[in-house]
């Protein structure tokens, strides 16, 4: 059984890995994203994830379908956390089972890379110095969270 889902709070892989078991499979590869205590030179205390879930699930399911087309795998799942997370907790989990390990490694890598680029999820970091900011947000990165308003360029 394959699929993409969101959960509130840290991801518990043991709740999901059972869905990937299959007596025809000899290999299983998983990736876990853990909340780190630093990012780009700043000390991080905790994180907050927010997702546009209805579109996020569709896009996540598309990524998993692509992985199943491209690689000789049997099952693949991805679970992403939303809400508050503490240091060391699991923000995302990807699990892939396959007959042979090569396909499982490639598909697991593909899924996490695509999820990070395409699924509408946002991460707010809370820093030791009391500041906080949305990761990958230009205004946040350059001047903290209170930036002067400016016109946002329309995407192509």
């Amino acid at each position: 059984m394959s699929g993409f889902r969101f959960v509130t709070g840290p991801v518990a892989p043991e709740d999901y890995q059972a869905h990937l078991t299959d007596l025809s499979c000899g290999g299983f590869v998983s990736f876990e994203g853990w909340v780190r205590d630093h990012n780009e030179g700043r000390e991080v205390l905790r994180l907050e994830y927010e997702a546009y879930e209805s579109l996020g699930i569709k896009e996540g399911e598309r990524i998993i379908a692509e992985a199943r087309e491209r690689f000789a795998i049997e099952h693949a799942s991805c679970v992403h956390a939303v809400g508050q997370l503490e240091l060391g907790q699991r923000a995302v989990w990807v699990g892939v089972s396959s007959h042979h390990r090569d396909a499982a490694f490639q598909a697991c890598r593909y899924i996490i890379d695509e999820v990070k680029q395409r699924v509408p999820i946002w991460k707010k970091e809370h820093y030791r110095d009391g500041d906080s900011g949305w990761v990958n947000c230009e205004a946040c990165a350059s001047a903290g969270k209170h930036t002067p308003p400016s016109r946002v360029a329309g995407a192509g």
């Binding site: 569709k58 923000a91 947000c137």
Partner: protein, 79 residues
């Protein structure tokens, strides 16, 4: 005039101070809608925005119909 449901996430939610709203507009497409909203909110520069219409990725020329839902998507940072 048509009524569009807008949903705001992350930095845009914090900036507008709301998760969603119903917005009456004469905008023909996403680009015109964004210009109107920007008049009101003066959005911060968050980087390249994407857009979704009715829970599917669209583009700035996607035409709008009464009852559509629209989400502007700042750069993502999952994982």
């Amino acid at each position: 005039m048509k009524t569009i449901r807008i949903e705001y996430f992350a930095v845009l939610r914090e900036h507008t101070g709301r998760g969603n709203e119903s917005f009456s507009t004469g905008a023909q497409n996403v680009d015109e809608l964004f210009a109107e909203l920007n008049e009101r909110y003066s959005f911060p520069a968050v980087g390249q925005l994407k857009v979704a219409v009715n829970d599917e990725f669209g583009d700035w020329q996607t035409r709008l119909t009464d009852g559509d839902s629209v989400v502007f998507i700042p750069p993502v940072a999952g994982g």
